[in-house]
Symmetry: C2
Subunit: 416 residues, 2 copies
């Protein structure tokens, strides 16, 4: 993989140039993307910017993010050839930071569970996860140092875990979603993929102008970590259980205070509220697509929207109420004695086959809580597939989440 | 004005037909809109739907609401001729309810304070208010029975007050904003304009499928009304003060419990937090327009965005924190002993001249609070210009707000 920070350091040191970095990304895509299929569109003319902290950084944007100079096709024939007038806000923020959008990455159709064509960069017989399939795969394959995705259930953290890359799903609306195709407005959150936790932190800091998000290894304190197994979401695969245990032990050996934390009862309720809330919003957000192009929807999305038409408003209102109470409980109880939570990023390694994108059950409630979530890479199965673990902080605690995730990432590197 | 409920009753009774109602709207627009300039685009082929509770209802949509079959030009040359691929969610919901979108109504450029060309239907030398200028004016002039606008500061309630129409700005995100051009995502709220409070309530019920929102005059209880003058927002005009006093006295005579209510200190803080919060989001939401077309922005918006570029993230975070605390105080203190608040809808009647759109200072904090707000028409100045008053309920209390507003509207009609 291409570390964004290593690349910026090489540019800074004069060992490479922003122009050469862009050429390298173009060449890597040309060489490998026919097999990987991470990109839905590549801008062959994309060049390095003149200035900015991310100068020389080639970025892939999930193809539900509006671009004025490239198609935005949402993974569906409904938007074939579609060209928005304006760039999404995140695109302007990337441009201001000096990054170069090199192309649009493959998304599942309208970000739901119907799979896209992208393969897992670590094993082409396995799914890269979804819905931000291309973003995770393009970074995992080392084609580009940075990609943007979105998460409504588990569409950033899960594919990051499956592809062995770092990712951050920041606090709700820390990154602006203006110009990003909505699925469920209470949930939709932009996220960033890069090789390491420090890389995603650097990109998030550059894009938001919040310098406190950067990882400074000289000042990272050993965090108080609560290990939460999310029993309300069912059992993980053996791979996932092993990874969580390994991460907890490594963090403890590195000096972290690690102890088990039980979820509050409202968090379990909130886990079950995610579905009705998401689907009630999706039936409105995708009303035009459903009413005008139902036959062109992916079969799983069509079925979801068919069923969502009858969700009563009261079920939605109840789900919002549950989410509100669970957010308060998380803030006032769960995060009172720990800095971050450590939990599964996915049930286990990427499932075999390209007919599905895996399961978001260990991600959903955190999207609903709006808390910052980080996938920490560095562990793998005996078969060589990556298995991530997830670090979660309280709402607004993006810097803590990233610092603790970098701590765990370092601890995993130092394992005997 | 055209009462939506009267129209539906006439159709129900066979006194008119949905087709005739659409023809009437087309004719009224053709006859009067050259002078009024409420419409940015009229779909001359728009016909009545085959079914639905709002069948025969011609609707005007503020021209920042995406339509697949009409231009969406945002009041600015930056979007001249722009045609989105999809309808906004609210458009699909209107279609499902049987309403017919007859055209797009004039908006101030990108919904900020630079005025548009629309005139006040009650006096063409006065502003209709903004930014939903055309929506308020088209209903106020009796061209159409229903229009949709948006409010980020005071862009629904203020023009409704100036044009003498009823309007509801529902609880935040009760109406989906998918496909509506964002200005500040924490604030942007869709609203509806119609002749009377019962008319807007009927439309809101039909579009959301929430039947409890309809006004049933047999069951409206006399509300407990807290009169709040919003001293933190400055003094109203004498017209505005007189209107508020008249509405309070009329409600009291009709049996309401009316007493003064002082705002909590955090509400005053939240009033001042609206600006930094809105402008920090606007600089991101409109980043592409600013970076690519700064010279084409309205001068007031350009200046706002120029200044907004330097707002620090901390000021935004502080503003969000203040807003959060003020929402809690509103719920737990202010609305503990009253059902609704009665306050100014605008400082007074519509100012003379078309060079501005009036002042949103009595609306802003309520947009930030996300509470349902209703403009109650029925009062006017000695010069014959309308002056509305505003009814506000707790978040989620849209039915209470509408019922109390209908109570006050009835009370004003029965004045000696």
């Amino acid at each position: 993989m291409l570390s964004l920070l290593d690349l910026l350091r090489s540019i800074e040191a004069g060992e490479t140039t922003p122009e050469a970095a862009l050429r390298q990304a173009h060449q890597a895509i040309a060489a490998r993307d026919d097999e990987l299929q991470a990109f839905a569109y590549v801008d062959g003319s994309a060049q390095a910017a003149a200035s900015g902290p991310l100068r020389g950084v080639a970025v892939g944007l999930k193809d539900i993010i509006d671009t004025a100079d490239m198609p935005t096709q949402m993974g569906t024939p409904i938007y074939a050839g579609w060209r928005p007038r304006a760039d999404a806000a995140i695109v302007s923020l990337l441009h201001r930071a000096g990054a170069t959008v090199i192309g649009k990455t493959a998304t599942t159709p309208l970000v739901y569970l119907d799979p896209t064509v992208t393969r897992n960069p670590r094993n082409p017989a396995h799914t890269p996860g979804g819905s931000s399939s291309g973003s995770a795969a393009a970074v995992g394959a080392g084609l580009i140092p940075l990609a943007v995705g979105t998460q409504t259930g588990g569409s950033v953290i899960r594919p990051a875990s499956f592809c062995g890359v770092a990712a951050v799903k920041p606090s709700f609306r820390l990154l602006p979603t203006v110009g990003v195709k909505p699925f469920a407005w209470t949930l939709d959150t932009l996220g960033l993929f890069a090789a390491t936790v420090a890389d995603v932190a650097c990109a998030l800091a550059a894009v938001t102008g919040r310098e406190a998000l950067r990882i400074d290894r000289r000042t990272i304190a050993a965090p108080r970590i609560g290990v939460m197994t999310q029993d309300f979401a069912g059992e993980p695969d053996p791979d996932g259980a092993t990874a969580l245990e390994a991460a907890a032990r490594a963090a403890e050996r590195a000096g972290a205070v690690v102890r088990p934390v039980r979820p509050s009862p409202t968090l379990a309720e909130a886990f079950h509220a995610h579905g009705p809330l998401q689907n009630y919003e999706a039936r409105q957000a995708l009303a035009w697509e459903y009413d005008s192009h139902r036959a062109l929807l992916g079969p799983l999305l069509r079925q979801l929207l068919d069923e969502a038409q009858t969700i009563p408003a009261e079920a939605y209102d109840d789900a919002r109420g549950v989410a509100h109470r669970a957010r308060l409980a998380l803030k006032e109880e769960t995060f009172r004695d720990v800095d971050v939570l450590l939990t599964h990023a996915a049930p286990g390694a990427a499932p075999e086959g390209l007919g599905g994108t895996g399961d978001s059950r260990f991600n959903r409630v955190w999207t609903l809580m709006g808390t910052p979530c980080v996938n920490v890479p560095g562990l793998e199965t005996e078969g060589g597939l990556p298995v991530g673990v997830q670090i979660i902080a309280s709402f607004g605690g993006d810097a803590q989440a990233l610092a603790a995730a970098a701590f765990v990432e370092d601890a995993l590197r130092r394992r005997p």
